[in-house]
Structure formats: C-alpha cells, structure tokens
C-alpha cells in the first residue's frame, strides 16, 4: 500500500512558524544530538521527513512532537541551517490547530494580526459582560465581590472549565485516533496502566524529569534558579497551584465553610498556597519574557504571537492577581483594586478559554504523549527455566 506524497503539507506548516526544512538532506545529525532520541523515538528527523513528503496523519499522531522541550541543540548542530527545533515548535502549533475542530486554533496560529484583534475583542466582551453586572464599590472595606458578584465569577469559571475540558478532550481524541493505530497498543495485552500514569504525573509533569535530566544541557551552566527546566517548572507549578487554590476556595464556598471573599489571614492554607503559587508564576513568566525579549538562547530567539500571547496573559493574570491580594492587606480605601480585579478576572478567564487553541494546549498533549511513551506491555510471566542438570 503506497502513500501519496503531498507537497502541500510543507506549505501549510509554514504558516505556523519558522519552517526551513527544505534545506534538510536527512543526514540525521539532529537525531544524533537530540537527548531524547531513543530506539523507538528518532526525532526530529522523522518528523521533518513526514513534513517533506506530506505524511500529514503520521505527523499529527507523532507523540515525539510533544516529548520535545525545544532545547535547540538540533538547530545548533544542523549542517544545513534547516532549524529542526523551530520546525518542531511550528509543527506543534500545526497539531494544536488540527486537533481542534472549531478552527480557532488555525486563526490564532496562522493570522497573527487577527489573533491579536480576536484576543482584544474577547477581553472587551468579557469585561463588558461583567461590567454590566457589576454592583457597588464599598469605600470603607474592600468588598471586591460586591463589585463583581462571586456567583457570576463562579458561573463563568465553571462554564469555561467545562468548555476547556470538552475541547481538550476532543483534541486528545483527535490526537489518539492516529496515535493508537500507530503505536500498536493492543487489546488483550496487559500494560502498566497505573504505573505509567503515576510516573507521568509525578516524575515527568511535576518532576520535569526529562527536561531536568536530558533537555537542559546549557553549556553556560547557569545557577539553578535560571535553568530552563526550573523556569518552566516554576511557571507550571505556579499555574497548577493557583488552579488548585482557586478550586479549593470555590469548594470551601460550596461546602459553606467559608464565603468567597471573606477575609482570611495570609497564613491560612489556601491563601498561602495561592500566594506562593502566584510568586512562582510571576517569577517563571517574568524570566521567560526577559529571555524572549533579549533572545537569550536558541529556544527564545524566534517568538511567535502564540508564544507571546501565552506568556503575557499568564504574567498579567499573575501580576493583577498579586496586586489585588496586596490591596486586600492594605488599609482601605483601595479603590483601584476593584478595577484591578476586573482586569484580573478578564485575563484569567480569557487565558482559560484559549487553553485548547494556543501553545497552552500542550498541557493536554504533552501529558498524554508522556503517558503513551511510558506505557509498556507487561511481559507475560514465563515459567522459570529448569536449571541445567549438574551431572
């Protein structure tokens, strides 16, 4: 069965970033240098070849796309300046856009100008919607949720989360459709389902094992707090911590333990979690933004609107959230805090809504790819060989 060559794929990919892989002559230096290349995961050469001959389905179902942390070593060693690292980043954008069936991903990736316009309009709509439902701005105390009702935030938040979960699930199904066929997962074979899940979540996602051990070989050897894996982990921990703190706060409100917006001391556990996570997020995103602004290394040299939108939204939501928190512990009146809260909620909501369509979607796809990569069949127990006779 032969596969038809499809030259258009490479042209399509070019809309998603810096794609120079025509220059590639398949020498495999990128695979040789890639710290993640293993026997069954030879990339990025394989992905580049898929792009060159137009194996669209194979490219879209490559878990290797998502295993890459874009250290940039392949680009540095490429003898043809074909920029494999940048290609992988563009291909991830392409994949995100194609796992999504709404077409929003395509718009956000392929039309930088309209992407920005869209994001601004979405922000204005969200802000306008909330502003029309605003209440009073108490002067003597900081009654944030009298200005924007907690219930409104909760309802929008829950709706957005459900939407994001459904869109993410849809994307994962699209990703898996091809990958399951290709990876040769079979029914009737026992896999290390649970062990792989635990490994993926704790060692890889939270522990950043591969990033830390394999993908961060910066020859300048910066201090730990400037290492690429730590900056990435700091951002991710911050994001997940804030997500957890917000959810817990919502849960305590639902359970009637504490009303949303009720004053708590800074050391109360959920507030403390939120505060620390916020600091991590701000640290991670700030350093990332500085690195992209100064083009500090290979992986920050080339930035797309997607890269920027993702970072700036996280940074802004972190900064505005932190400002609101500061206002809470300052003596009233802090009238600016009401507006700050509005901005914070708008940006956080917008970021949440755009997760499945932007670079942010890698939280779904990379996790799934890492899980698939960790899945191994459990070998059938074979009877112990009878020891050879001693006579």
């Amino acid at each position: 069965m032969s596969t038809r060559i499809e030259p258009q794929l490479l042209e399509d990919l070019k809309a998603y970033g810096k794609v120079d892989v025509e220059a590639c002559f398949n020498c495999g230096n990128c695979t040789a240098i890639c710290p993640l290349s293993e026997n069954d995961a030879t990339f990025p050469r394989r992905m580049i070849r898929m792009a060159q001959v137009g194996l669209r389905d194979d490219l879209l179902s490559s878990k290797e796309l998502w295993l890459c942390y874009y250290c940039g070593e392949c680009t540095d060693t490429c003898p043809r300046q074909a920029a494999p690292g940048e290609f992988m980043a563009a291909a991830r954008g392409y994949a995100i856009s194609h796992y999504d069936s709404l077409g929003l991903g395509k718009l956000l990736h392929r039309r930088p100008f309209w992407a920005v316009v869209f994001m601004i309009i979405l922000g204005i709509v969200l802000a306008g919607f909330m502003y029309t439902r605003h209440g009073t701005m108490p002067y003597d105390t900081l009654g944030l949720f009298e200005f924007i009702p907690a219930e409104l935030i909760h309802n929008i938040g829950v709706t957005a989360m459900v939407f994001v979960a459904l869109a993410g699930l849809w994307g994962l199904v699209n990703m898996l459709r091809h990958e399951v066929q290709r990876s040769g997962l079979r029914l009737g074979v026992r896999y290390n389902w649970w062990q792989a899940l635990i490994d993926t979540i704790f060692r890889e996602v939270l522990g950043q094992k591969r990033y830390r051990e394999d993908c961060d070989r910066d020859p300048d050897a910066p201090p730990w707090y400037l290492k690429k894996w730590f900056i990435h982990a700091s951002t991710m921990w911050g994001f997940l911590g804030l997500l957890a703190a917000t959810s817990l706060d919502f849960a305590t409100a639902l359970l009637g333990i504490k009303e949303t917006g009720a004053w708590v001391p800074i050391y109360s556990p959920i507030r403390l979690l939120g505060t620390i996570s916020g600091l991590f997020l701000i640290y991670g995103t700030t350093v990332s933004i500085i690195k992209r602004l100064t083009k500090a290394d290979r992986s920050t040299e080339y930035s797309t609107v997607d890269d920027w939108a993702f970072l700036i939204m996280m940074w802004l939501s972190g900064m505005t959230g932190f400002a609101v928190e500061v206002a809470i512990y300052l003596p009233p009146p802090q009238m600016w805090a009401y507006w700050m809260l509005l901005v914070h909620i708008v940006i956080a909501m917008e970021m949440l809504l755009l997760i499945p369509f932007t670079k942010f979607a890698h939280i779904f796809y990379r996790t799934m790819a890492l899980y698939l990569h960790a899945l191994k069949p459990i070998p059938e127990k074979t009877p112990e060989p009878v020891p050879a006779g001693t006579d």
Partner: protein
C-alpha cells in the same frame, strides 16, 4: 672490447637512510671490492644528488670507468637520472644498470637487516654480472610528421584541435556528421557558469575553423590506418554535402522535400526534412542532405536548379599524420521500451529531451506537454547508469551499464532549478539512488534545488521506482511508486504529469575506429587508457591519444581538460619533429634464424616482426626482421624461437643467465652475516 678492458664502477646509495637503516651498505660495498673488473666501489648518502651524480661522472672521466651500476631506489624513479649522468660523462647511456635496493629490499625486509644486507649484496653482484655484458645501444629515432588527425568535431575534438594548432602542430579534424559541435550544441544553459552552451561553443568553432593550421572535413570518417607513432598513413572518406555553399533557397527546398524523419537534434521530439540545417546558426552554415533519409526524388532541386547535387561521389583523402586523437564522444543512453514507462507513456522523456523541450516551450507562463498542463514533474536519476548485473535487464550485448555517468546528477538538479525559475508553481520530485554533485560549484546547484523545495526521494539500486498509469480520475496521468529510504522504506506514490529520466552516457559505437587503430575498449565499452592515473590520455598504441567522453563520462569542463591534455601529449610526441624510442626491442641474429616464422605467429603487435627475404651467401632466404618502431620489447618472440636467434636488446638471455648465476653463486664474504 676484451673482458679485461671492462672497468665497472659500483655505487651503493644510502637513500638518506631509506636503504642504510636496514641494509649495511658499507658491508655490501666491501663485498664488491676486488671483484673482477670492478675498479671503483663507493657508497653515498644520496647518489641522485648533484654531488652523487658528479661522483659517477668523475670516475668515468678520471678512473676510466666504462660500466656503471648503481644500487638505489626503483628504476622507475632514477634510472633515467643516472643514464643522463653517464651520458654527460661521454659514455653511452645504456652502459648503465640500475639495481633496486629500496623497494625490493630495505623497505620489505625491515625486520631482517642481516638477510637484507645479504640480499643487497647478491642483487649488486647480479647487476655487476649483467654490466660486464652491457653493450652500447642507440635510441631509436623516427621522423615524426608534425600533423595530428583529430577524430570527432565535438567539444573534445575542437578543443584538442585548437590547443594542438596553437602549439604549431598541423591538425586535420574530421567529423562524421555534416555539422560541428556535437552534443554540446544541443545544450542550453551550462553549469556551473550559467553560460549559453552554443554561444561558448561557436566562439571555439570560429577560432578553430579559421586557424591556418587546421583543416576540417565534415561528413568524414576514418576508413583506413596503418603505421606507427610519427608516421601513421590514414585515409579519410568524406561524403558529399549535396548542397553548395552559396545555395540560397534552403527554406523552399526543405518545404519541397517530402521526406520527414525524427530530428535527432531534438532527440526525436520533432521532425525534420532530408535536407536540413541542424539548427539555424549551425556551423558550417550550409544545409546538408541526410543521405540515409534522402530518396533522391529530386523535389528539392525543382525550387532552384542549381546548388543541389544528389549524385556526388565520396571523396577520399590520404594523409600522413604523426598522431591520432580519438574524440568520438558519447551518446545518451536510450531507455528500453517500457523502462520506467519510456515509449509506453508519452509523458516519460529523457533528460536530453527535456532540455530540448524547455527550449521549445516559449515564455515563462505555464508548462504544457501533449496539451496537458504540467504541475508535477518526477525526475529519476541513474537511468542507464549504475545498473547491477543480475538485477537489471542487460542490453543486447549482454552487458549492463554498471558505471556512474557522473554528469546526470548535476544536470538533473540544474534542470530542476531552471524549471523552478521559469515555472515556480510546479512540484518537483527528485528520485535518486545517490546524489553526487562532485565538482567545484556543483554543490551550490544542489543547495539551490533544495532551497527551491525540490522533494528528494531516495531508492535503493535494486529497488528502482516504478512508473505506472494513474487511475483515470487522478489529477496526473502517471504515478511513480518509490520505496523511499529517507522515509524509512515506506512506499510513496508521486503524481507526475511528466517523468524525466536522467539518462547516462554511453560511448558512441566506434568499433571500426577501434579496429583500425588497434586500440582497446574497457568492459564498459569506453576506450581504454594505458594507466588511469599516470597516463590518462594515452592508449596502449603509441601515438594514439584519447580525448573526452569517448574515454568515459565527463562533463564539458572535464572534457576540455582531457582535450587539452591530449593536445599537450600530441605536442610532446610531435613537437621535435622526431620521436625517440627506447632501444629495448627485439633483435634477430640472422646467422641463427631459420625463418620458421614462429615469432611472427605469436607477436601481438602489428608489423613488429615479419619474415622478409634476405640475401645470404647469394641465396634469398626468409628471415625474421624486426620493425623497431612497432616492437614494444615484450620478449614473446624470444621465448618461442627454437634457435635462440632473437634477443631483446639491453635484456639478452645471456645477460639474464649471468645475473642468475651471480645470484645463486656461493659468496663466502656474505655468508659471514648468517
């Protein structure tokens, strides 16, 4: 000269340590001292140095040395050096014998210095034994005609003719077809300079044909040849052109001609008449009659009664030339019917055809072929090259072209670049086994193709792509299936509106010339040189020289290098007006020869030895007579002569026997080392 007058000088060279680090040169010298006839024995750090050579010269002049033996490096390196030193001192240069102590001894016996020293002694003793029997010899000098025949009017022949004429050698250039320029005239843009092929070619042709030392015959072939270097007697047969130079009604005559044949200038893509000009500004710019196609119906003559002669007779020209340059060129490989769909689908063309097709396609708009728009082109490398015996179908002569044709990779990529420039919307697929853009500047052509987005697919030599008809509802008429090893051996399907076969080079069929000149062709049918590295343009027949693609696949640049080398070689051979040959040829002792003729029967060289009537005691008898110009001194005749009547000068049987005796004799002085 009686035995006691022989005064031998023996010299053992240290070769700067190359010999003396292993062989005890002083002990070897000691062994030689006092031997009969040996009057001087010396060692030296470097005999080939000026000082070393002066030693020999002084000994000849002052000590009356009249035979010289030097034990040193290989004779191929310095035998001539020492012969010249001997001659400078006034002695016959062939009274010299060279013993190889380096390659044959010190270098190969480094772990065994004692035995090596003993061997060196024996080799020297053998040399001295031979030296006692050396006799004066004279180089064979032949008058050389300062005139070269160049066969082939393509770029190789033209370039050779120009260079040789510039050196002052008269040149007769013959071209089989009615027009000069060969295959280069059929090219357009040539890599890596991007010049126009015909423009560059015409500049050279104009220079050559107007040179006062060059005579050109078109429609001409070599029909007989004999003789030897410096004195070849050749006959050229020139067919009439059929059209007078001042004939001015070509267009009408061509319109009137009822015969239409495939135009080989366009590789059969178009047709032409039996009266034709190869291309509008072809040189000579006089039309010619294609005698193979012409039916002599006379229609062309009716447009204008004069200027066309259909009854002309061939003209023969006899010449004496000193050297012959074979520049007979190549023909592109002609794919078999059905090979990659060639001849089966009109959308399959060869690269030479594609080059013509590109010229016929006007403008830079849309490329069409057979009335269909062309959006996808697949170019397949190595067609008729690098074939594997047992895998690929052999040709009529049972052989496959297992060689690389060298030019096709760059030519194919150059084609993709031209296509991309003129028709940027076309998808280009390059199917190759390997890509060898080996020459200076050629890699840039690959890089450009790569940047242009040419998709490269790589197959294994034994799994060549398959060209098939596409289903009727497909966008392209053909599908090329290829197992692409860059895509981990996956079978890919390439849609193609045009398939271009990068056909290789085959030599023009020149068996008649090969036979006439007694040169040889290799297993690949290309003409064979004596030594691929050190004598790259000479054939085994002295005075017959190769130029260009008759010898192997070359691009224009390499062809010109080869042609200039051939011309330089002609200059070397004929520049002095005479040719000197080494005297090591067979010599017949007529007192012993009984005319059995066995020597004549075994001799592999034409006219080297023959039975001729010789007057002996008033009677005429048949005796073997050697023609020194044709003899190469191989010694086969010596081995078959029942009467030991033949010897090779300088290497007689007597000399060999003396050497063998010396090598095997008891040598008390040397046994000491054991």
């Amino acid at each position: 000269m009686s035995e006691k007058d022989i005064r031998i000088g023996a010299y053992v060279c240290y070769c700067g340590g190359n010999i003396s680090d292993v062989v005890d040169c002083e002990q070897v010298a000691e062994t030689l001292r006092g031997l009969p006839n040996v009057v001087v024995v010396r060692t030296d750090l470097s005999m080939c140095s000026d000082a070393g050579q002066s030693l020999i010269e002084e000994d000849i002049k002052e000590k009356g040395v009249n035979r010289v033996v030097v034990g040193a490096c290989a004779p191929s390196l310095h035998e001539v050096t020492f012969r010249k030193a001997v001659a400078r001192a006034g002695l016959n240069p062939y009274l010299y014998h060279h013993v190889c102590l380096r390659e044959q001894d010190s270098w190969v016996h480094q772990s065994n210095p004692d035995e090596a020293t003993a061997k060196a002694g024996r080799l020297m003793l053998a040399g001295i034994a031979k030296a006692r029997m050396l006799e004066q010899l004279d180089t064979i000098r032949l008058e050389a005609e300062q005139h070269a025949l160049v066969i082939g009017g393509g770029i190789a022949g033209l370039r050779t003719a120009w260079d040789a004429a510039q050196r002052g050698i008269r040149v007769t250039l013959i071209e089989k077809s009615p027009f000069l320029g060969g295959h280069m005239a059929q090219l357009e843009t040539i890599f890596p300079t991007g010049e126009n092929a015909r423009q560059a070619l015409h500049e050279l042709i104009e220079k050559v044909v107007s040179h006062f030392l060059v005579t050109v015959y078109t429609n001409a072939e070599l029909t007989s040849a004999r003789g030897y270097m410096g004195d070849f007697r050749v006959t050229i047969t020139a067919q009439p052109r059929g059209v007078a130079e001042d004939f001015a009604h070509f267009d009408e005559a061509a319109a009137a001609c009822p015969v239409e044949v495939p135009d080989d200038f366009n590789y059969g893509l178009t047709t032409r008449k039996a009266i034709y000009l190869r291309y509008p500004d072809a040189i000579p710019n006089t039309p010619a009659i294609d005698w193979k196609a012409c039916t002599r119906c006379g229609e062309c003559k009716k447009v204008n009664g004069t200027g066309i002669d259909l009854d002309g007779k061939p003209q023969t020209i006899d010449l004496t030339v000193g050297a012959v340059v074979v520049a007979t060129g190549f023909q592109p490989y002609q794919p078999r019917e059905g090979e990659f769909g060639y001849g089966q689908f009109p959308e399959v063309v060869t690269l030479p055809q594609m080059i013509r097709l590109m010229t016929m396609q006007e403008g830079n708009g849309k490329l069409t072929w057979n009335g269909h728009p062309v959006n996808n082109i697949a170019l397949i490398h190595c067609v008729g090259s690098r074939e594997i015996p047992g895998v690929h179908e052999p040709q009529e002569d049972g052989r496959v072209n297992d060689y690389c044709s060298r030019i096709c990779c760059t030519a194919t990529l150059q084609m993709t670049n031209e296509l991309h420039e003129r028709f940027p919307y076309i998808n280009l697929f390059d199917l190759h086994e390997d890509i060898r853009t080996y020459s200076r500047g050629h890699e840039d052509i690959y890089t450009e193709a790569s940047k242009n987005g040419v998709r490269f697919l790589r197959f294994h030599g034994d799994e060549r792509p398959e060209v098939t008809a596409a289903p009727p509802d497909d966008t392209s008429p053909l599908l090329v299936r290829v197992k692409d090893y860059l895509t981990w051996g996956k079978e890919l399907e390439v849609p193609a509106d045009l398939v271009v076969l990068a056909t290789g080079m085959m030599p023009n069929p020149v068996s008649d010339i090969v036979k006439l000149l007694k040169i040889t062709e290799g297993n690949d049918r290309f003409l064979l040189e004596v030594h691929p590295k050190l004598q790259p343009v000479e054939t085994a027949v002295p005075g017959v020289i190769l130029a260009g693609t008759a010898q192997g696949p070359m691009n224009i640049q390499e062809t010109c290098s080869a042609a200039s080398a051939a011309a330089a070689k002609v200059g070397v051979l004929l520049g002095q007006g005479q040719v000197s040959l080494e005297p090591f040829v067979a010599r017949v002792n007529h007192d012993l020869c009984d005319g059995s003729g066995q020597c004549v029967a075994v001799c592999a060289y034409e006219d080297a030895i023959a039975l001729e009537p010789v007057l002996v005691d008033g009677k005429t008898v048949q005796k073997a007579v050697v023609s020194p110009a044709n003899c190469v001194g191989c010694g086969v005749c010596v081995s078959v002569c029942p009467n030991h009547a033949i010897d090779v000068q300088g290497w007689t049987l007597e000399q060999y026997e003396a050497m063998v005796d010396a090598i095997t004799a008891d040598l008390p002085k040397l046994e000491v080392v054991e």
